[in-house]
């Protein structure tokens, strides 16, 4: 006879639900980033802007963007010229596409230079401390004390027209693009250097740095393989926001006529030609202005999202 009082069977979870595999820091960051709706929006818009600038070039050849037809000057948006034409009859749509390429490239390259200098200065100052730290930080402060726009203008004047044109990927870039990239890079690394220094100051006190030294790791490796990966989050955030600032800085100086020289278009120098036609031909400033606005806005949203995603204090998943 079977016993009637059978013990209630214990519910077993399927193996894969019992223990979710632990996540790597990158996966955790991605989880938090996904929850940030504005950042996702920013990322999507940014991708679309890249597609616009680099995909659009497949539709319109560069010669079309620089093609002048004075009989059609300042014509409003139409089916043939959806964004209208500019003061010498060039198609604004095609120019925003090629200008976008230059603006985005300037943003990325300038940030590369900014990051390189900022990380090096900050890392050396923070890691070694002492005299080197004082020296590098005084230089940083000196640079910060000069108004950036003033520096930009002086350097643009000084270097302007000294660099020949560059042939790359079947395109001709005005040498002024390189000048702008370099001067934006040279005038914007200071905040990053301070951030990196602060990170290094705190991370180098960790026991894993001592442990690394105890296994005979050299200073170079400790700086670049142990401490730098630990401070990558604020660097990524700062660099992301730096792209937006570089695009804006390029727009300033190009608007003042000191930046990238025509016929190479950028969003900034397209605005330069528009200031006399604010009311009579609003399409001249509206489209490049809108694109700058969208780019800067979405990069800032993206930066915010990355900041939250990497923030070690927001461990919530």
């Amino acid at each position: 006879m079977q016993t009637s009082s059978q013990p209630t069977p214990v519910m077993l979870l399927p193996a894969d639900e019992l223990e979710t595999p632990p996540l790597s820091p990158g996966q955790l960051a991605w989880r938090r980033f996904r929850r940030h709706k504005m950042a996702l929006f920013g990322a999507v818009v940014l991708i679309l802007l890249f597609v616009y600038a680099f995909g659009g070039a497949l539709i319109f050849p560069e010669s079309y963007a620089n093609y002048t037809d004075t009989s059609l000057r300042l014509s409003p948006p139409s089916a043939k010229h959806p964004f209208g034409t500019d003061t010498i009859g060039r198609d604004v749509l095609a120019r925003t596409i090629y200008g976008g390429q230059i603006s985005l490239i300037i943003g990325l390259l300038a940030v590369s230079i900014e990051s390189l200098i900022g990380i090096l200065v900050g890392a050396l100052a923070g890691y070694y401390g002492g005299f080197l730290d004082s020296l590098l930080m005084r230089i940083t402060e000196a640079m910060l004390n000069i108004p950036e726009i003033f520096l930009l203008i002086v350097m643009a004047k000084f270097f302007g027209g000294r660099i020949p044109e560059i042939h790359l990927l079947g395109r001709v870039f005005s040498g002024s693009v390189i000048v702008i990239v370099v001067i934006i890079g040279l005038t914007s690394w200071m905040y990053l250097a301070r951030i990196v220094r602060a990170e290094f100051l705190s991370i180098k006190e960790n026991e894993f740095v001592l442990a690394a030294r105890a296994t005979g790791t050299s200073n170079f490796e400790i700086i670049f393989r142990h401490i730098l990966p630990n401070s990558i989050a604020p660097i990524i955030v700062s660099a992301t926001l730096g792209v937006a600032n570089a695009i804006l800085a390029e727009a300033y100086i190009s608007f003042l006529g000191l930046g990238v020289q025509p016929p190479t278009a950028t969003w900034g120098n397209m605005l330069d030609g528009a200031n006399n036609y604010l009311e009579s031909a609003p399409w001249l400033w509206f489209f490049p202005g809108l694109l700058i606005l969208l780019t800067v806005l979405s990069i800032n949203f993206l930066g915010d999202g990355l900041r939250d995603a990497f923030d070690p204090h927001s461990r919530a998943v």
């Binding site: 632990p22 790597s24 820091p25 960790n206 026991e207 894993f208 001592l210 442990a211 690394a212 030294r213 105890a214 296994t215 005979g216 790791t217 050299s218 490796e221 393989r225 142990h226 990966p229 630990n230 990558i232």
Partner: protein, 328 residues
């Protein structure tokens, strides 16, 4: 047995805005090949600073090694160049630290941290290093090592991390392992496992071990010799059994009286040592333990007692013979 490391009259100080910290005040000791030496003392007595001075891991400034020698073979570690030191650390002398939770880099995988010194010191290729890393992890008892190489430190438990630290220390077959309180941050059961692991590896690899601890209980089953430190001085040094059965320094005596033992009556209260450890900002003039010592005589306050033999290899630094209470 061949002498491996001999430290002579090591003095380390820290210059801070408040003055000078007299952290290590003339420490001499030696360790032979394959031997295990335990260094015992309370927090801040200079155990770790002594070892870190020898490995030159202290930031200078504020630290300053005022005098002394640390002979490793025919070389003086305190006079090697920074490059030579880098070559030696991890390769000939390895160190394991107290807190395994913070001793691993949180953003690098275990595999990468393990293979690092293999590639730096032994010049191994990526694949060889990875294979050796798996062997090392298996050697220290990490199950399923091959799959756990890609994990990050936060995916390991405390005990496993300490095993990884030990694996990292062992990867270049050092002749000396310095373990700085490697079990302090762990559960008691895990502590026992780690002690057993180090014993096993020491015998397998014929490696000398300096085991720093403030737990006299751990020492008994592990070390051959014990060195007791107080306020930057070595106050007593002896074979383990001699020290437990016949302590000759009042501080050791007091430490042992504060230790619970299974072979003693349980209703007796454990004795604590009255007073507080000395202020290290004051240059020591007499025996540093004198203010707390029940045997102290006038001489103790003005003259620093040297470490002198009290029988066999047993040495103690005291002006009083604690077995009789009479001055020496």
């Amino acid at each position: 047995m061949t002498m491996l490391l001999q430290t002579i009259d090591l003095k380390t100080r820290f210059r801070i805005p408040e003055g000078t910290i007299y952290a290590v005040n003339g420490v001499s000791f030696h360790i032979s090949e394959g031997e295990t030496l335990a260094v015992v003392g309370e927090s801040g007595c200079g155990k770790s600073v002594t070892m870190m001075s020898i490995l030159r891991l202290l930031p200078t400034p504020p630290a300053e090694i005022v005098s002394g020698r640390a002979l490793w073979g025919n070389r003086d570690l305190l006079r090697l160049s920074e490059n030579e030191m880098e070559q030696l650390r991890g390769r000939e002398i390895a160190m394991v630290f107290q807190d395994p939770m913070t001793s691993l880099n949180p953003v690098l995988t275990i595999g990468r941290q393990l293979t690092e010194s293999l590639r730096v010191h032994l010049g191994m290729g990526k694949e060889d290093a990875a294979q050796r890393a798996v062997e090392l992890l298996e050697q220290v008892g990490i199950p399923d090592a091959a799959h756990r190489l890609g994990d990050y430190p936060h995916q390991y438990s405390g005990g496993m991390r300490q095993r990884v630290m030990i694996a990292m220390a062992l990867c270049c077959h050092p002749s000396l392992l310095i373990a700085d309180e490697p079990t302090t941050a762990l559960d008691v059961t895990i502590q026992a496992q780690i002690v057993e692991l180090v014993k096993k590896l020491r015998d397998q690899l014929h490696m000398a071990v300096i085991w720093i601890t403030h737990d006299l209980g751990v020492v008994a089953g592990l070390a051959q010799r014990v060195m007791v430190m107080y306020a930057g001085f070595v106050v007593e040094e002896a074979l383990v059994d001699d020290l437990y059965e016949d302590p000759r320094h009042p501080y050791t005596l007091a430490l042992l009286a504060a230790l619970p033992r299974v072979d003693r009556r349980r209703d007796r209260r454990l004795k604590s040592i009255p007073g507080a450890p000395p202020n290290l900002l004051v240059e020591p003039r007499g025996c540093p333990f004198a203010p707390r010592c029940e045997f102290a005589i006038e001489r103790c306050r003005f003259e620093i007692p040297p470490l002198q033999p009290v029988g066999g290899t047993h040495t103690a630094a005291c002006w009083v013979d604690v077995t009789t209470g009479a001055p020496r």
